[in-house]
Structures are given as C-alpha cells and as structure tokens.
C-alpha cells in the first residue's frame, strides 16, 4: 500500500492551550517499503502514526493510502494496528484472539492464512488454547503479531510494539517481523526510539525532532538483510542517525 502525506500537520486544541504536535510534514512511502519513524518523546512520531491509522484527523494537509483517505482504508480492514500494549482479550483463548479480525467487520474480508497457521508462524502452535494472561510478555506480542497478520492488511502500523520487552526477546521478535514482512510484502510504518532497531529493520529511517514535530532528515539504509547491528556498516548508519537526532552538522557542531 502506497502512503502519501502532503503538508500534514496536527494541532491538539481540546486542551487549555493548543498543542502543535506535528508541523507541516510531507512524506511518500512506496508500496511494500519498511519505514521507521525515530525521534525523542514528543517529536510527533506517534501522532503521525495515529493520523495514518485514522485515530485522529489532521489539522491541515492531505493523507492518501493507495489514493484513498485513511478512513476508507480502515473501513476495508486494510490497516493492521499494533502497539506496545498487546491488547489481548483475557477471556478468549489465544486462537480466538487471533481469529478476532475474522469475526468483526465481516463484510470486508481479506484473504489471510487461518489462525492456526499464523500461530504456527509465530511459534505458538502449542499455546492455541491457552489464555493470554498465562503467557509471557514476548508471547503475548507474538499473539498480537499473528492477529495483525490475520487482518491480511497491506499496511502495518506499529507503535513501538516491543518497547516493553527485554533486549533479547525484542531482537528475536523484530527478526520475526522482518521474516513475515518478506513473506507478506506489506508496507510497514514502525515507530521506535531505538536507533539500532531502526537500522536493523528499515529501508528508510525518518528522523523527527520535537516542538512542533517535523522531519529533520531521511536516511536510506542500503544494507542487505539480515543485518548485524554491530557490523561497521551498521555502526556508521547508527552514528549518522545519532548525529541527526542531536541536531549536529557533519563536523559535530550544534546547529541550534
């Protein structure tokens, strides 16, 4: 799914003083591309993702997902949403949780592998009848991942999905996401504040800064996958991204 943002901005006016969360931002994402949004807290990266997910409406500008507004894409179940909180239903089994996208909004069915197959893909074949509260945090996110796949959506919006997990689990899971991305070819917009993670995952890393949020730079990661975050090529990208995030020029002087 092709993603297009043109001069999109968001100002929250419901509070006492208006809060400019995102300044005028333009971004084009090709179909099947893996894009990471990176930046400090309050840089508007989550706001941008929520705009794409049709959770909030832009103050100005235009968003197009395959030439349709986000609301139309959401109505057709074309958006898979995944966040830090796996949002599993504790009263349903793992299998039923994964089957949820098949049970709601039935008139817009999209082809996707059945829940049992998806659970096998994320390594949870032995836990289909378990209840989510009994699973570890990492396993819960695997269930959420399988559920996202069950939508068959061509756009995955992921808001720091593994930020609450320990380093090792997090690496294993990001590798699985990469594998599934290569298998299903969705467009992925992935929000993170972990630089190494962004370099491991993305085709392009969009660096954002705060108040109001805007894009400071976009770095294309031209490395073959799987990537090793400790390899010299990766470290060079990590350095470049850190420099961008700190607002320094190439000589290391502060631009502010």
């Amino acid at each position: 799914m092709k993603v297009l943002l043109e001069n999109v901005s968001k100002t929250f006016t419901d509070e006492a003083s208006p809060l400019a969360a995102l300044g005028a931002t333009s971004l084009h994402i090709a179909s099947g591309e893996f894009v990471c949004l990176i930046g400090p807290s309050g840089c508007g990266k989550s706001t941008l993702l929520r705009l794409l997910a049709d959770q909030i409406a832009p103050t100005t500008g235009n968003i197009q997902l395959d030439n349709h507004p986000p609301a139309a894409a959401r109505a057709r179940k074309e958006i898979a949403w995944m966040a830090q909180n796996p949002a599993l239903l504790p009263w349903q089994t793992v299998w039923d949780n994964v089957a949820l996208p098949l049970r709601v909004n039935r008139q817009h069915h999209r082809p996707a592998p059945p829940p049992g197959e998806l659970l096998a893909m994320v390594g949870l074949s032995d836990f289909t009848q378990a209840r989510p509260p009994k699973l570890s945090g990492g396993m819960q996110q695997r269930v959420a991942l399988a559920r996202a796949l069950a939508t068959g959506a061509p756009l995955w919006l992921m808001d720091e999905p593994f930020a609450a997990l320990d380093e090792l689990t997090r690496e294993t899971l990001t590798d699985e996401v990469l594998r599934l991305w290569m298998q299903f070819h969705p467009t992925v917009v992935w929000v993170t504040h972990n630089i190494a993670e962004a370099v491991r995952l993305a085709d392009r890393v969009v660096v954002m800064t705060e108040r109001p949020g805007h894009i400071r730079g976009i770095v294309a990661i031209a490395l073959p996958r799987p990537r090793d975050a400790t390899a010299p090529e990766s470290v060079a990208y990590i350095r470049e991204l850190r420099r961008l995030l700190r607002g320094e020029d190439e000589a290391g002087r502060n631009r502010k």
Partner: protein, 265 residues
C-alpha cells in the same frame, strides 16, 4: 443483618485453598461463637427480661420447636427477594446497556435513577401494598427498586472500562458498536456486575423484609411485625437469624458463580 465474609474466599492457589478455608472457618467459628457465648452470659448474669433481649439459647429453642414454620416463612421471603433481584438485575443491566448505545439519554436516565434511588422505600412500600395487595408483587417491586441502582451504576462503569489499547484495536478493525459490545464491553463489565451482585444479593432480603413489614400475609417481615405486636422477642430474633443465614448463603452463591463466570481473573 448479614455478615461480610469476603475474606473467606480470596485464596488464589488451589493447593493452599483447603488449609486456608479450614483456618478461616475456624476463625469465623471462634469469633461468632465467642460473641454468642458472651451474649448468653450477659443476658443470664444481668437477668435481662426475655421481652428485651432473649438469650441465644432461647432463640435456638424457638427455632428448633417451630423449624417448619420458620423454614416456610423464610422461603416466602427468599422467593420475593429472588424475584426482586431478578427484576433489579434485568432493569439495571438493560438500562446500563441502553444508555451505552444511546449516549444522549445517559444524563437524563441516570438522573431519574438517582431520583428513584433516593426515594425512601419504607415510605413507598405501604403505597405499593394499597395498589397491589398483600401478595408477593409489592415485595418484588420494592426489592427491585432497591437492587437495580448498584447494578446499573456498576455495569455502566464496566461497559466504559475497556482500556484504550483495546479500543484502538477495535477501531483499527472498524468493528461495529455491536461487535465492540459483544467482544470487549460486555466481558469487561462482567466483573463489575459481580461486584454489584455481592452487595445486592444480601440486600435483596432487606428489601423483601422491609416490604413485608408494610403489610403481608406471610414472610419473615410479617413474623418480625407479629413479634413486636405480641412482644415475643425470641420470634423476632429467630426471624433475624433466618434472614442472616440466607444472606450469607446468597453472598456465598454469588462468589461461587463469579468463579465460574469470570474464569480469566
């Protein structure tokens, strides 16, 4: 009128459950037993006349000698309480669901509910007897009025307690209001419903007794009323005892049912 024995049933692991139950049963026996023995001693030592406070032994004898009578009167009250409880539950749940789907009605309906809630039911009960006679109907209505409010408030809160992450998920799937209700809101509200039930199940007996007080052909309320009219306090306390035992039983039944229904907690 009823004992709060919630602490009895909070044990989590099945292994320690039996030992914990035995320990709790022992503590209840010890404390209630001590209270009864003290009561007996004070009444006997101070020679309190039976028409002021009868000794527990006198009450026990009364219950024993007229067991059939007290059982049948208890069942009348229990039936009325159960009827009122079903009425209160049905109305409370229906109204909570209704205002969840039609938000415009929320304020008005809740205001009306508070209005009904603040009406002193002891004053309304005789009026209902004038309207509907000495049969069970006025008792069912009074109990219903007494129990619907906690159910309404709790279920209403529960239906709105779905967390933001789950709402975002259902939003992303473009789930309908009905789907959100069925898969997220209703299961979320169930623990809230049971919290209300723990309060209103024993309360339903109070409702039935208060209503019987206003005029009844049978039931524990009538037994109490007759006890006052004839100055037979053992009968009064025997009726109170029956009501208390049923109250504990109802509370316990709610706890057992809750464990079955809310299996994920």
């Amino acid at each position: 009128m009823t004992l709060d024995i919630s602490g009895l049933f909070k044990m989590a692991t099945p292994g320690s459950q039996r030992a914990a139950l035995r320990r709790d049963g022992l503590s209840v026996l010890l404390i209630v037993g001590t209270a009864l023995v003290l009561w007996e001693i004070i009444v006997r030592v101070r020679n309190v006349p039976v028409y002021l406070i009868p000794a527990p032994s006198v009450i026990a004898v009364t219950l024993w000698q007229q067991a059939g009578y007290y059982l049948s009167q208890s069942l009348v009250t229990l039936g009325e309480a159960a009827g009122g409880l079903v009425l209160g539950l049905t109305v409370g749940i229906l109204v909570a669901v209704l205002v969840t789907f039609w938000r415009q009605m929320e304020r008005g309906v809740l205001a009306l509910a508070i209005l009904i809630k603040t009406t002193p039911l002891a004053a309304i009960a005789p009026l209902l007897v004038i309207w509907f006679g000495f049969g069970p109907l006025p008792k069912v209505i009074v109990t219903g009025l007494m129990t619907f409010f906690p159910v309404l408030i709790n279920v209403h809160s529960g239906l709105h307690a779905v967390d933001g992450a789950t709402l975002a998920l259902f939003h992303s799937l473009n789930a309908s209001r009905q789907e959100l209700f069925r898969y997220a809101q209703w299961p979320t509200a169930l623990p809230y419903l049971f919290d209300a039930l723990k309060v209103v199940a024993p309360l339903s007996l109070v409702g039935a007794v208060v209503a019987e007080w206003a005029g009844a052909s049978a039931g524990l309320g009538r037994v109490m009323w007759l006890a006052y009219a004839n100055f037979t306090m053992p009968a009064l306390f025997a009726a109170i005892f029956c009501s208390a035992v049923m109250g504990i039983g109802l509370y316990w039944a709610v706890i057992v049912l809750e464990k079955q229904v809310i299996f994920w907690k």
